[in-house]
Structure formats: structure tokens, C-alpha cells
Symmetry: C2
Subunit: 488 residues, 2 copies
Amino acid sequence: MDWKPSPHPHLPLQRQIASWIAERVETGDWAAGTRLPAQRELAARWGVNRSTVQAALDELKADGLLEARRGSGVYVSGGAWNSLLKRAQPNWQRHIRAGVHRPNRHTIRLINDSEPDPSFIRLGTGELSPDLLPAAAIEDSLREIKIDPQEIGYSSPLGSLRLRRALCAYLAERGVQAAPDNICIVSGALQALQLIAVGLLEEGSAVFHEPATYLNSVHPFQSVGMRLFPAELGTGLEERLARIARRRQSLLYAIPALNNPTGRCWTQAERDRVYAACTKLRIPIVEDDVYRDLTFDPPPPSMKSADTSGQVLYLGSLSKTLSPGLRIGWIVAPSPVAARLADVKMQTDYGSSAFSQAIAAHWLETGLYERHLESLRGELRARADFAQEELRRLGFDELAQWTPPEGGFYIWLRFRRPIVDKPFFLRLLERRILINPGYIYDPGDLHHIRLSYAYASRAETIAGLTALREEALRAEAEAKTGAEAADD
Amino acid sequence: MDWKPSPHPHLPLQRQIASWIAERVETGDWAAGTRLPAQRELAARWGVNRSTVQAALDELKADGLLEARRGSGVYVSGGAWNSLLKRAQPNWQRHIRAGVHRPNRHTIRLINDSEPDPSFIRLGTGELSPDLLPAAAIEDSLREIKIDPQEIGYSSPLGSLRLRRALCAYLAERGVQAAPDNICIVSGALQALQLIAVGLLEEGSAVFHEPATYLNSVHPFQSVGMRLFPAELGTGLEERLARIARRRQSLLYAIPALNNPTGRCWTQAERDRVYAACTKLRIPIVEDDVYRDLTFDPPPPSMKSADTSGQVLYLGSLSKTLSPGLRIGWIVAPSPVAARLADVKMQTDYGSSAFSQAIAAHWLETGLYERHLESLRGELRARADFAQEELRRLGFDELAQWTPPEGGFYIWLRFRRPIVDKPFFLRLLERRILINPGYIYDPGDLHHIRLSYAYASRAETIAGLTALREEALRAEAEAKTGAEAADD
């Protein structure tokens, strides 16, 4: 929607708009059944009065090209379009609905679609602020990178050998012993989960996870017919897992260091309990360790570092530290498993960007990466302190509670009342403030938001938290009124 | 398998090998049930005598760590491993077999695994030779690329707006009208097929294609439960499609310009027939046009350029022209369809490499890309001429026939006898010559190979074709003997 009407001596804005829309429909770009954006939104986008948009739409409705549906907006009309064009286009809406892959949840799609718009304050995003990304240093490093013609052809299945060798050294410093053929390069940890889902599990398999989990906000397992089972980590874990694992092929997914969304690090006892239970039941563990490099104090050891039985598939990534735009992550696995996942990856996208892999290898080999981490951890700690000061200053203690973060991006803010529902999210969206509500990580949770201190500026944080507090107070008051009304 | 034993005063080679293997098993790297490479192969890899390998394996068999299975080699023993380590590791082989995604076909895996090894002559590969890739020019261009910190965060779902705008201009020059929100950036055309398969089709859908098709060599549709239906393009097409499309959601996949593997360009009549039949039956068309920029003479118009009903999903890529390592391709589609595919892509890998996208945009915007194409087409034409001269000089006219290529990489070489079977492929593999046999594109085809002139050097082409001719003569002779024996 780059197009805009422009003042023209002979073509009124209303006509320009009507022709542009008709063209969208005629070329099939706006398929039958497509819902048009709200008039208010179109008017803002095109910089015209809402009445001008209204007039153009009325004209097209009269032509039978569009139709209004009571209470739900204006749509491209199916039948009229056929009669106009004497052609049948594929019923794209039916194709879209039929797709095997689930659409992202509505809240998540709204977040994805709004995040690129700089007018939003992003209070929940899982991404570093652009000014924490070493863009200038990466730009400098591009000047030093040599492009070997062999390296920019199709990749070998496991990915660039140079990068895998650099990762062996990186992993060894973190207590994980791996050879290059234990490593499969992927385009970020989400792709790793995708490959594991389709490469190692049969349909109907069980995926265990902590109750509040990143896995609920993405669908790599659910989209191919796996079922998620929340499992508390406390005593009795083995029995809980066994009940299901007896009947289904299973896997356990966890982020033991700086869990997303809660920010927690597991205790040694928790790591031991999970490892022992899974080993006994022969359940593979996927240890997602993408936040490891971001703990403020030295991180606890990973499960993988103590894995003597090849039980753990270990995931890492540069997206949370160096640049999400690189799309570089890795899976460490027994070599036949790494080979299988690489084979699936070859069938998926023929490997990850050679240029991203070259940049990643350069940053790891030269020590640029480790130096960057040091300064990044300092910045994040300062941001975490600032966010908590502001929470206190704005009186959030009365509304919510939280544990000071040990690293990473997030404060898992728990409101004392269950006010964080979809209307709450939408009201903040309306105010151009994006939060990540707890219910996208744990469907039954209406208490939490995942508050990120890694993205918004200080001014945005203050403005965003102020609005958040207002909405929280309003929601509390409404809940009270509702409760009182129900009492009547 | 980077490791090698090395001469050591106190540690004989046999002991080094045995410990190394034991370590692979103990760490779970070689899982229970893993088949070891052949002794011959291990000996070659490690630069030791085969008897040394044999002695090490015998030692480990005696320990119960390995077991021989009659006629099929040496395996990591399951039970013994448990008793040694008092631990249970996941049954990875079972997990690998259970995976939803099919493994690549064996011939294709052998090709994928051998291609990175420079000692192979690659006579069939779908990739430009490294010396046809503008590596030095790309390296230079890296020095000019500005890294906008906003651009190296997570991508917007459709991909970089800068690249999509550059593509609008690129497409317009090729007769395709598109706005930025009609374009979804993908990591190559294979990923585009993957997204279409899971984003727009229900399980059990039908995918129509020409009998010899790239789709048989990859599994984006089959792996998610779609069925392939070969369809001849001749008269009666509509009836053939209708029979199946009546019962199943359907889609037609085609490469009308320089088909892979046959190298053919469709006639205008064929394009019209396919477009009319699909429009009538409301079957979406996937027009895979990744070879368009490589025709020796100006290419025929694409179906998309004449698509007035939004029927055609149009795929392009830079992999065949600029660099496969970029992993940059695109889908042109009606905007709701592009948005749906982008949503699935976000769930798959959170977008393509920002660095690859920046490089692609730079090459398109500056005209570097078009200039590169001109010289590339010249080089490919010279290579096509050379390959055909050699075919004639070596007497292939007596063994096979072919149509002079109109562009791209391939000669679809048809042997007069059906000799191109798996043993034929394996015999050439043994001689370290990689061919792409016709049966990976059309399971019943034992006549063709896809001969590529885009990769091998002149010397390699001569050596490769010479060996190919020898094996073809031998296979012909054997077939004759076999036939005579059968006559007895």
C-alpha cells in the first residue's frame, strides 16, 4: 500500500481512490472476500478526509465491486467481481483457510504487523533496540570480510565449515564439547525447532514444557500435529512425564537459563531432576540456550555441558546478542541427528545465508563478539535498573510484583488482579503501545505481561509505563465495578 | 569427522582409533544402531592401513561396543552400550525414522553429500561454477553497503521494503506489475514452495506438474501430505486436470521458461492452454521463473505478465544468477496471499537474512545485477557450445541425442537405451563423477541425464564425459548380454 492519491487538476481524489481500489480487485490483488482496512485507517494512510474515502467506497459499492457486511466492515464482493470481469480467480480465501499451517494467533499477528511501525512504543518485544546492535562495527567488519567464491555457492548440508569450527571453540568456552559434524547451522532457533519437529517426531508426539513458555507464542510443533503438555518442574516430574511418554513419542523443551518469558534460571536441583527423568524415560531434551550470553553474572552451567549420554539437543543463536537480521543459530546434536536435521534443512531452504555465516564466523574468530557481549551486558543491566526504578517511581508496587531480572531482556511483571486480557492488549494497541501479554505464553494466564527493557528508549519507557499504569488502574476499577454489579 | 590419528611414541594408531570411536559412542555422538562407514573408507580417511582399522574394530567388538551384522557392516551395539555406560540415551535412530518429513531420496543425499568434496567432477549440478559467481564484485560491493541498525533487527513479515521496492522495478522491466505488498521475500524458491505447500493447501491436495519435474527431486509438497500428478501439456489438458481437481484442492506447478530438468521453454500455445484451463477450473498456478534471466535470446513472456485474474503465484530468485549463498528469492502474489505466506514464513524462520537482502537490493538498484547478467549469459552460451562440441567429438551422437539449449545450465541428454539406473549412477560415483540421473526428476525415466555445462571446468568436462561415455558403452553392452542371456 505504498500508493497515495495526489492533487490533480482533472482527477478528484475520490475518483483516484475508486480507480485504485478497482484495479486492486481487477488484478486479483484484493481477492474476493478480502476485508478492506477501516475507513479511518485508509483516510490516515492517504492523507485525505474520511468523507472522501467514504464517497469512493460508496461508489464502488454501487458498482457491486464492494459490499458492506453489518458490523464487520467493507469487503470485496465475490459475485459482483465475477460478473464484472467474466473471469474466475482462485478462491484465495478458501486456500488460505485450508492451509496446513496454522496462522499465528491474532494477538501475535497484531504485534508482528505493528512492530515495524515506528510510531508504536514496544514494551514487550523480544529484540534488542537498534542502538544496542553494533551496526557500525558490523559495517566496518564487512570491509574486512573476504568472499571465497566456493563459499557463496550452495551450502554443504551442515553449513559453513569455517563457522562450525569457530562455534566449536565458542562452545568449548561454555563447557560444551562438540566437533564440526555435531553442529548444524540454522536460520535462528525457531528454525531449529521447526527442523526438530518435522525431522525427529512422529505425528501426535508429546512436547513437554514449562507452563509459561515461548512455545505457545510460536507453532513449530503444533503446526505438524504435535501436542504440547505443560509440566511443572517440581518433585514428581518423572511420574508426570511417564504417564504421557508411555503412550506417545516425546520430547522436552526448556530454556533453563533466562527462560522466555519469565526470565528465570533453573536451579541445579531442577536441572538434575529434569535430566534424570528424561534420561530414565529416554526422552530427548531440547535445551534452548539463546539467552546464555546475556546473564549479568556468570551463568549456571548448561544441561548440555553435563550431558554424557547424547540426550540433549542444544540450541544457540546470535539473534539475541549480535543481530536478529543475521538469522544465524545452531543445533548441537549427536552426528547422525545433526545429519538428519541438515538433510531436512536442505529440503527446506538449501541452507542459511553464506554472507550471514561469514559475518558470524568473523565475529567469533576475531573476538569482536566477546567484546561486544561485555558492553552489551553492561547496557542491559543499566536498562534493567532504569526500568525497575521507573516501575517503582510510577507506583507499580501497588499494582504488580516482579523479581529483579538476572539478565536478558525481560521483567515478568505480575499484576495482582487478572486484568491482562485481550481487551487490555487492544486498548494499549489503540494507544500505540505494544505489550506482550502473558496469555500468549500461557493461555490461562491473565496476570502477567512480559515487559522488555531491551528495546524502548528511556522516554518511551516512561510514556509506555505511564499509559500501562493508567490502563491497569482502569481495568482494576472496571473489574471491581463488574464484580459489584455481579454481586447485586 | 575432522579427526585423524597421528604418529605417537606411546599410543599406537589402533589404540587411538579405538578410543576415538569409544568416545563417539560414549558421548552419544554415534548413537546405538548407527552404521559405521566401511573399513575401506575409514582407512582412506585416516590415512592408515585397512588392517589397522580392522584391528581397532575387532577390539571394540570384543568389548561389546560394536557389533557386526552379516552382510551389512558394523554397527554401534545397543545393549552393550547400555551395560557399559549404565545410561539410556534416546533411541535417536527411531526418532529419525519417525520424523514427519521424508528424508531426501538416497541418490539425492549422495549427491548433496558428495558435492562439497572438490575431488568430484560435478556434471549435473544445478549451480554456477564458482568462477561464474561475481565474488570479487560482491566483495567490493560490501564496502559500499550501509548498515541501517533498524534493518538488522527482526524483519517485517514481507521482508525488506527497500528490496521489495527494487524488485518492483525489476519485475516491471519483465512485464510483471507488482506493488511492494504483493511481494514476499523468501530464502530461495524452494522455501517459496514450502510456504505455499503449508500455507495454501489442505492435506491430500493435488499438485499438477510436467512429467519431468524439479518437484520430484525435492519434497516440499509430498512431505506435508500433498500428492503429485504428472500432466502432459497437450490438448485435453483441461479434462485431465478436471478429473482430479473436481475431487481435490489443486495447484499447478510449472517452469515455463527453461524448465528444470529439460531446459525447454513453453510455446505461446502451451502457456495459453495452461492458463485457460487453470482459470476455468480456478486452479492456482505456481510459475517458477528462476531461470528467466538466463535465456540466450530474449525470453518469452511469463504467464504472470498476462495474468489479469490473480491466478499466478510467481517465483523468482537470485540463486541461479548472482549467488546461491545469498538465499534470496521472492513470491509475487495477490496481497492477502502474500500476507498469509509471510505470516507462515515468520513462524518458520522470522524472515531472511537482512544482510543478504541489503546486498540484493544494492545489486538491483545500482544496475550491477543487469550488467552481471549480460556477461553471465555470454559465458553460459560459450560453455553450452563447448559441451556440445565435446559431446560430438567424443561420439555421443551414437549413444544419445539432445536439443541445443536455449539458455540456463542444462542439456537434457537422452541415451538411446534405458541405461541410466541407480547402478549406473553409483558406478560413476565410484569414479568420483556426479551425474543427475533423469529418474530423480521422473521416476520411470531411465533414458536421461541432466547434464550441466554451468559448473565443471573444460578439463573436468572432458574427463567427465569420457568416463560417462565409457560407462554408457559398458551399460549398453551389459544390457545386450543380459538380453541375449535372457534369449537363451
